[in-house]
């Protein structure tokens, strides 16, 4: 789905034809286009609605048939280079509209003179405009992705965590040098992920491994105050997710749920696949302290934004405050990793 390169500019991409957001945008745009044509053509308001029904009766079959075909061909189309893919889509929709018009008139529907040619031309025009729109939209959003990456970096590393962790490692140096070594290795891995190009989706199993390393570091300094419960039996390991989609939430959970209390607290992480969607539910204890929640909101907004950039309307992030616990629920479409030709770092 996503391009496999890690070069700086992201390659041009066709819109994701199976994405609910894309489909809604196409439906809205084409219908608005049709309605505008009707309003221009009709002289009086009174006739607009009946003329719209006539137009819609012709328009919707074309629209829905094309969307259905594009939906079915999406995996194949999205693998093509951008230009070839765009030409294929233009040709496909034009030919399909032509054919549908011919078929409808053969069935006795009377669409007027030269209907098939006119419909094909209109479809070509509409498809062209929409492809151009999606191209512009992708262009407008791609700086947002790199921006989001930067923000992710800045919002994410709490200096508090970094310096306390280094201090904890220092405390191990003399008596338990081997533990100190593995802690430093975890810290290095964590920062490698934090600092790399995080615009591409990555396997969920990588994210979970990162979270484990992060929690090991926290356990080093918090000791028995931090209890972690993992429920990942039904986790789809190969699901592709935005990098750093869980780790910042765990950092919040530690900061707001574990650190303010002197008694042990449990962070529970539950990840599972249900009806083609990946769910991740994080729960941590919560004491109202009236203080610092700005950091929490920033991380949540950042993740929500990145989910929207990658999955549009198909992903969501919700948080819920119960009596004594705080719960975050992430829902994402299940996109298994595809075999990739180049080796990944």
């Amino acid at each position: 789905m996503r391009a496999n390169s890690t070069q700086k500019p992201l390659p041009l991409q066709l819109p994701e034809l199976r994405n609910l957001g894309t489909i809604l945008r196409i439906l809205l745009a084409v219908n608005a286009f049709g309605l505008a044509a009707v309003i221009v053509r009709e002289q009086r308001w009174a006739t607009v609605s009946s003329a719209w029904f006539d137009t819609a009766a012709l328009l919707e079959p074309h629209l829905l048939l094309n969307l259905l075909l594009l939906y079915m061909l999406a995996p194949w189309l999205e693998r093509l280079p951008y230009r070839i893919g765009a030409v294929c889509i233009l040709a496909l929709t034009t030919v399909v509209s032509f054919g549908l018009s011919v078929a409808l008139s053969a069935l006795g529907v009377d669409p007027g003179t030269n209907a098939a040619m006119r419909h094909a031309a209109l479809t070509l025009l509409a498809t062209g405009v929409l492809l151009f729109y999606f191209h512009l939209r992708a262009k407008a959003l791609s700086p947002a992705i790199s921006e989001a990456r930067l923000q992710a970096l800045q919002a994410r590393i709490r200096p508090h965590f970094l310096f306390n962790s280094i201090n904890a490692v220092l405390s191990l140096m003399r008596r338990e040098p081997r533990r100190a070594e593995s802690a430093l290795e975890d810290l290095a891995d964590l920062f490698r992920v934090l600092m790399r190009d995080n615009r591409q989706l990555a396997p969920l199993s990588d994210e979970v491994e990162l979270c484990r390393q992060y929690l090991d570091l926290e356990k080093l300094r918090l000791g028995e105050r931090l209890v972690v419960e993992w429920h990942t039996e039904n986790m789809p390991k190969d699901a592709m997710v935005p990098p750093l989609v869980l780790q910042p939430l765990l950092e919040n959970a530690v900061y707001h749920g574990i650190e303010p209390s002197s008694v042990p607290g449990v962070i529970a992480i539950n990840i599972f696949l249900r009806r083609g969607e990946v769910h991740a539910i994080l729960r941590n204890p919560y004491q109202f302290d009236g203080g610092h929640h700005a950091g929490n909101k920033m991380a949540m907004d950042n993740i929500r934004e990145r989910l929207a950039l990658h999955f549009d309307a198909e992903a969501s992030l919700e948080s819920k405050l119960n009596r004594e616990s705080y719960e975050v629920h992430i829902r994402m479409p299940y996109r298994p990793a595809v075999e990739r030709p180049s080796a990944d770092a």
Partner: protein
């Protein structure tokens, strides 16, 4: 006392951080006679420890559960011989800025042994932090009020207080169990805990949670006034004419 070793207490909620400081203090011991007399995981624990084990210097973290370092500093002042306090902090932009402005000593974690030694050598010349200096640090409201009784610091949790009443020079703290005497100003307490307490009279703050209701009383001369009824204590407190509006305000909230 030039030859007596410096007595230290380490306060940090993270065990590795305490251990690290101990190692560094061992390194300093050859240059400066010192002895670590105790360790505590929170400000509250530290106060309990210092009640029985006097110390010259407290090295305290700032962010801790139960009682943070800044609140500990305030309660330390109630000890008969308050120790010098040096904060240790991993990173806290605002706090650090405030410390620099008010020349309050602090060490940044991870601490370098040389920096620690320099701080220790200054200790005999340092005085305990003054309340005025502490007032200017960015701090959350205290979780306890502290009173000195028989040269020990007694902590009264804020949530147990039913009312605070100014009498002559002191303030009486009333909990369901007993009374304590405190030397602070009622106005300052009102500023700090305004969320939790409401003023019913020029000389009295009452915990909102403790209010059971209001009752109208008529005295022998025929003057009527309101009294506030409290949970946990049997006495009723008069509501002054100026503060009568709270009867309606709180009565409405409680009555639904």
């Amino acid at each position: 006392m030039p030859d007596a070793p410096l007595r230290l207490v380490i306060v940090d909620d993270e065990a590795p951080a305490r251990r690290r400081l101990r190692e560094l203090l061992d390194d300093c011991a050859s240059a400066l006679p010192l002895v670590v007399v105790g360790e505590a995981a929170s400000g509250r624990e530290a106060l309990g420890l210092l009640g029985s084990t006097p110390a010259d210097l407290v090295l305290s973290d700032i962010h801790m559960p139960d009682m943070d370092g800044i609140e500990l500093a305030r309660h330390l002042l109630k000890l008969p011989l308050p120790p010098v306090l040096i904060f240790t902090t991993a990173y806290h932009e605002h706090a650090i800025a405030a410390f620099e402005v008010h020349a309050i000593d602090y060490l940044v974690k991870p601490v370098r042994v040389q920096r620690l030694l320099t701080a220790l050598q200054k200790v005999p010349r340092l005085k305990p932090l003054s309340g005025a200096k502490l007032d200017r640090l960015p701090a959350a409201a205290r979780r306890f009020l502290s009173v000195t009784e028989r040269s020990r610091v007694v902590l009264v949790p804020i949530e147990e207080i039913v009312y605070l009443k100014a009498e002559l020079k002191n303030i009486t703290i009333r909990t369901a169990e007993r009374e304590y005497l405190l030397e602070e100003s009622l106005t300052k307490l009102e500023e700090e805990f305004g969320e939790r307490f409401v003023r019913v009279h020029r000389n009295c703050l009452v915990a909102r949670d403790a209010i059971r209701g209001f009752e109208r009383r008529v005295n022998a001369e025929g003057d009527a006034h309101w009294e506030v009824l409290l949970r946990g204590v049997s006495e009723a407190l008069p509501v002054s004419r100026r503060q009568q509006f709270i009867v309606r305000e709180i009565g409405r909230d409680n009555g639904g």
